[in-house]
């Protein structure tokens, strides 16, 4: 069902954990429909110095968290904002169709963490065209 890449990131997830006094924290999901992903950012000079995650979700959700955090580490906030769930899925060697929505969580949690940082720094939050807390179970199939 899962590619070797997914299994690798699931078995040996990168960046699991939390950051004390993080510059930005984003959480999406809803325990009712299953998954919760929380992302912690450490930002210095507009660059993501460190990132950690905690995820309550399936193998794909954990692997997506791991891959997404790897992909934004060391990037500017603008670059991180542009990371799409599709790019995460592709970097994982693909996800089963019904598991695509798990990668959407990663995109959403990053966006929220970035905007959390922006608000804390008195900046205007960037506009998001998706509502990540919607029942994501329609996404995918």
């Amino acid at each position: 069902m899962y590619s070797d890449k997914v299994m690798d990131h699931f078995m040996n997830p990168r960046n699991v954990g939390e950051i004390e006094n993080a510059d930005g924290i984003g959480e999406v999901g809803n325990p009712k429909c299953g998954d919760i992903m929380r992302i912690y950012l450490d930002v210095e000079d507009n660059i993501i110095k460190d990132v950690k995650f905690k995820t309550f979700g399936c193998g794909a959700a954990i692997a997506s968290s791991s891959m997404a955090t790897e992909l934004i580490k060391g990037k500017t906030l603008e670059e991180a904002w542009r990371l799409t769930n599709k790019a995460v899925a592709e970097a994982l060697g693909g996800l089963p169709a019904i598991k695509m929505h798990c990668s959407v969580l990663a995109e959403g949690a990053i966006h929220k963490a970035i905007n959390d940082y922006r608000i804390k720094h008195g900046l205007e939050p960037w506009k998001d065209d998706k509502n990540y807390d919607d029942d994501h179970h329609d996404i995918g199939e």
Partner: protein, 395 residues
């Protein structure tokens, strides 16, 4: 990745075929392959093999051989029973009673029938998964033609008060079907004593082959065919008989019902050792299903703060095979309807694990699982934002 020890604890999903069963089947693939409907010797030999298997199935559940019809599996038997009774009794009424925790072979069939103009009542269960008998009685109307309640639940293992339900149905003259796919070999069944009119079973749940099952239909009960066709199964189920499969089913049910008590005692002892170990070693864990009235090999527990698919994948890495009611591992992305019906909140249903023990499991298997499982649960909890909240909230 731990050692390559393999511990299969998903017998409720399917079992391997026992060597004696396969051996009984083998001649019927290549040598004794004749069509049982043919008049010649080769066909007649096939016919007697089938009739012998029919007698074994009948004996196992206290039925008459002529009340047993072979099918292509448990789902076909369930579909046939429900649709067959519905279409044949439409003139009498259009109301069917079943439960909220049936297998999808029943539930989705009922949904289909609702589209065809039937009405279905889905009776609730209590927190242990036991049918609410009062609700069942109260939902009977003079249009009720069928009650279908499963003998034992595949997920949480709860065994239903089948005899009582049989009595209620009989008093009101309503056909009573039970899906006994999980019960065969684990519970003593006598269809006459229990007033069961129809019963479904599937060979692959008791060390027989996949793709073959049976429906018991009490003499005198008229149901419409599901697979229309040739004159097979006394014209009630078309299709060239699955000869090796049927022979395997016969052999398997004979073995599975030869010593139910002895089998149960052994499996239950192992199961309890495992269950008690899990509850002792892993905090924030809840047993699902009835504490006593449950299948001897069934464990269903919910580990708070984690999700079941990840659990299964990590167990797999250690060679342990189980299953979960988590949404994430089901095709539909809904958590188990059974776990929801017993009142579990979504996130607790999410963290459920079913381990179903079988004949080859040993004490070493149990100890191995008790060694591996707590570490895996902890590893997932350490990744879980819910656990983090809980620990911080607790501090």
């Amino acid at each position: 990745m731990d050692s390559k020890r393999i511990v299969y604890m998903d017998h409720a999903a399917t079992t391997y075929v026992k060597p004696e069963v396969l051996e009984a089947m083998l001649p019927y693939f290549t040598e004794q392959f004749g069509n049982p409907s043919s008049v010649y010797t080769l066909g007649r030999k096939s016919r007697s093999a089938i009739e012998e298997a029919r007698e074994k199935v009948a004996k196992a559940i206290g039925a008459l051989p002529e009340e047993i019809y072979f099918t292509g599996g448990g789902s076909e038997a369930d579909n046939w029973a429900i649709k067959g009774a519905a279409f044949a009794n439409r003139a009498k009424g259009n109301h069917i009673i079943t439960s909220k925790i049936e297998h999808h072979a029943i539930l989705n069939t009922c949904e289909f029938l609702e589209k065809q103009g039937f009405e279905v009542t889905y009776v609730s269960v209590d927190e242990n998964g036991v049918i609410d008998l009062e609700e069942l009685k109260n939902s009977i109307t003079d249009k009720t033609i069928l009650i279908s309640i499963m003998f034992a639940n595949n997920e949480i293992g709860t065994i239903q008060p089948i005899e009582e339900i049989g009595r209620i149905a009989k008093e009101r003259g309503i056909i009573f079907h039970t899906d006994a796919v999980q019960a065969i070999g684990n519970v003593e069944i006598n269809v006459k004593d229990m007033n069961i009119d129809m019963l479904s079973l599937a060979a692959h749940k008791f060390y027989g082959p996949k793709g073959v099952g049976a429906l018991y239909v009490r003499k005198g009960i008229r149901i419409e065919n599901l697979i229309h066709g040739g004159g097979q199964e006394r014209k009630r189920r078309g299709g060239t008989e699955n000869l090796p499969g049927i022979v395997g089913l016969g052999k398997a049910i004979e073995l599975a019902t030869a010593d139910i008590e002895g089998h149960n005692a052994r499996i239950r002892a192992l199961r309890d050792r495992l269950l008690n170990g899990i509850l002792e070693k892993i905090p924030y864990t809840k047993l699902n299903g009835h504490p006593e009235k449950r299948l001897p090999g069934n464990i269903n527990v919910s580990f708070k703060f984690i999700e079941g698919e990840g659990l299964l994948l990590l167990l797999d890495q250690s060679g342990i095979y189980g299953s979960t009611g988590s949404a994430c591992s089901s095709g539909s992305l809904d958590p188990s309807h059974v776990l929801l019906a017993i009142g579990l909140p979504h996130e607790i249903a999410h963290g459920s694990l079913r381990l179903s023990l079988g004949d080859k499991n040993t004490e070493e298997d149990v100890d191995y699982v008790l060694d591996v499982l707590p570490k895996i649960v902890q590893r997932l909890r350490d990744m879980s934002p819910l656990y983090e909240n809980f620990i911080k909230g607790g501090r």
